[in-house]
Amino acid sequence: MDGKVVDTSKAYEVALENELLVTSSPHIRSGETVQRIMLDVIIALTPAIIGSVYFFGINALKLILISVASSVFFEALIQKMLKKPITIDDLSAVITGILLAFNLPASAPWWLPIMGSAFAIIVVKQLFGGLGSNFMNPALAGRAMLLTSWPAHMSTFTGTRPDVVATATPLAIMKYGMSPDGAASATASATTSATIEAVTSATSAQGAELPELIDMFIGNIPGAIGETSALLLLIGAAYLIIRKVIDWKIPVFYIATTFVCLVLFGVESEFLPYHILGGGLILGAFYMATDYASSPVTPIGRIVFAIGAGFLTALIRVKGGYPEGVSYSILLMNVATPLIEKFTKPRVFGGAK
């Protein structure tokens, strides 16, 4: 019996035909696969998907399905056009689709997720090299693009069933609703998309009252369809941590830093729970900030990344023009990731300091 030397990275293409395969060690592999990791994230998101339909009705399901379908479609389309192997079977586009939809209000028109996923998949993900090479979280970048382009559609939030009417999110109420001139101050220079968003939020926030904390926890509050239920998101997050798909350090340091910074910025203690449970912080910390490609791989880098995102979130919420701030914090830290990795290279075993 004779052997055959093959390139290890191409070895799977070679038929053995009764010859011995010669490759470099190791010769066994774990059962971990990219698909399995992505499937785990989808499993983890399932309670929140079901919750979103329960809280916001069939329109939520419609948006999620359109978003997922268009994400997968655009991935296949752009890969076909660029003559690259089509990799929709890795399931990563499905996750981008779900997360993008989770950031939309239930009242969003059907074409909004299509625009968002086209930008997320084609521009942010595939043009930068596809899965693993995107420098930003595609779903968040998609959301940011939608918010800039169609601010009114992106910030007209509806309450939960049965009375699905336009209303304000708890964070918008805290930001604009508490002062009598909230809307007025926001309207003062309504020329940019950011202020249009602020006006939309602030107008509905006028005179509104904060919901009960238990409703915040369960998710029975106005907001983007996938971000409102801390409970359902945390169930999925626990699954991901147990399965070791995500590193607990990122969400824990993220949320803790947000909390500490809010306290330091003088936010009153009665509002703190609303800040933690609302504004997509749970969704962002557990499902967006943990995106592999756009967060550091180094252990210390992950903590630095999380602390940075936490600080920025608190800063935007207290001093900035937006009521929530999670998306932009994570996107900013995404861009800082290569730099963070450079400065947090682990010291090798037995290596000099």
Binding site: S9, Y12, L20, P346, V348
Partner: protein, 442 residues
């Protein structure tokens, strides 16, 4: 100090597959008709033959040696006639000068093979000379000549000898069976090593998946207060000597350094047995225990094999192939070397022959790196395998070096865990070769 359940940072849980042979006693392999004894089975200078074609040789007779300090002589494993001296492939190299000996089946011992006297009466120097003359090399890994390892420079103060009984590679049970069946030889060998280095503390480290070996060794060290057993958590690569030192002694061997830099020397179980036999029986290293295993062989076995026996003979003795073989590996699945022919001989460092079926050997499809960071979590050296390997694949070896490629111990944990099935350890290994070659050419 309690030495129980010790471990190191990083590493990965790999399936053991040891159930195939862990309960099987060591059997003597069938006498080979022809042996092919490579003159270079170790790290260091190759040996020159000291026999000619047509010479009669006996078991244990020295047939090759070198003047260099870092080298180890080789001995005949059979009695018979030298048929030829020719270049042949071995499990670790393409072209090695081998002494081909046809056995006469009589197994006559050479007159030099006789007990070397009481350990009590031997001096440090005499023990080292015995070890050197017996041609003993590290039998678990790189095949470093034992007498060199046991002669540290004056300024390196050694306080503890560690015996490596971790055997963390999946499938392999050679050391395990030796500890179960010859515990007193391990203890004697350790005592000889301790005396040769002038140290009075010895520790035998064993992974906890070998409770019978732990029991046997504990029984054998009763009333020997300066020898202890350390039990180790089951985790790969616990048997890497720097991981072993870290787990048992809590010491960190500096990057690029050796165990002696932190006051210790590590010997593998098979090596220790060989040292015991060299002193007790005057027996040179001409046979060793080899685990022949894997789904691809009909009856996996632990065999006592003469050095120079072709792989083919041993696979035949284990009932032949159970299925179409895909890979034949010298060593274990994590660090072993896949062979392109079964005509290679067993050498001093061959602890196993693993036959993987065609099904098992089929490589998996490689996906792009998703930056999950799992390779960082398992790397025992705290490298960033995704970047070192990534630069290596792009042939940017300077960058790979800047990412500490040379610190890689090639354990393969990163490639094992990688969900994208990337050839991380493989490409880092390539980078190491390139970096070292470049340094040498300067």
């Amino acid at each position: 100090m309690k030495l129980e359940n010790l471990t190191f940072k990083g590493g990965v849980n790999v399936p053991h597959y040891k159930e195939l042979t862990e309960g099987l006693s060591i059997e003597k392999a069938k006498e080979p008709e022809i042996v092919y004894i490579p003159l270079h089975q170790h790290t260091g200078a190759p040996c020159e033959p000291i026999v000619k074609v047509g010479d009669s040789v006996k078991v244990g007779q020295k047939i090759g040696q070198s003047e260099a300090f870092v080298s180890a002589p080789v001995h005949s494993s059979v009695s018979g006639v030298v048929k030829s001296i020719e270049n042949m492939p071995t499990p670790t190299a393409q072209n090695v000068k081998c002494v081909v000996i046809e056995s006469d089946g009589k197994n006559e011992l050479h007159e030099s093979v006789k007990p070397k006297g009481d350990l009590e009466n031997l001096t440090q120097k005499e023990i080292l000379e015995i070890i050197k003359e017996a041609g003993i090399t590290g039998m678990g890994g790189a095949g470093f000549p034992a007498h060199v390892k046991l002669s540290p420079p004056q300024d390196k103060k050694i306080d503890t000898i560690l015996i490596n009984g971790a055997e963390c590679e999946p499938y392999i049970t050679a050391d395990h069976r030796i500890m179960v069946e010859y515990p007193e030889k391990i203890v004697f060998g350790l005592k000889a090593i301790m005396k040769s280095v002038g140290v009075d503390r010895g520790i035998i480290g064993i992974e906890k998946n070998k409770p019978d070996a732990i029991l046997a060794i504990k029984e054998a060290i009763k009333n020997k207060p300066n020898i202890q057993v350390a039990t180790l958590k089951v985790k790969y690569p616990q048997g890497d000597e720097k991981r072993l030192i870290n787990a048992i002694l809590g010491r960190v061997v500096p990057s690029g350094g050796l165990p002696m830099d932190v006051g210790t020397i590590v010997c593998n179980v098979s090596t220790t047995k060989a040292i015991a036999e060299a002193v007790l029986e005057g027996k040179p290293l001409y046979e060793r225990v080899v685990t022949v295993t894997g789904k691809g062989v009909k009856e996996p076995k632990n065999l006592l094999v003469k050095i120079g026996t072709p792989f083919k003979d041993l696979i035949e003795q284990c009932g032949g192939f159970a299925a179409t073989p895909g890979k034949i590996i010298s060593g274990g699945p994590m660090m072993g070397i896949s062979q392109y022919t079964m005509d290679v001989p067993i050498i001093k460092g061959t602890n196993a022959i693993l036959v993987m079926t065609e099904e098992e050997a089929k490589p998996e499809k490689v996906y792009p790196c998703i930056k999950c960071g799992k390779c960082l979590e398992v790397c025992p050296v705290r490298l960033q395998p995704l970047y070192v390997g990534g630069y290596a694949i792009k042939k940017n070896f300077d960058k790979a070096e800047a990412y500490n490629a040379l610190d890689c111990v090639e354990c393969g944990a990163c490639s094992y865990i990688c969900p994208a099935k990337r050839p991380l350890a493989e490409s880092i290994r390539l980078a190491k070769r390139e970096i070292i070659a470049k340094r040498k050419s300067k």
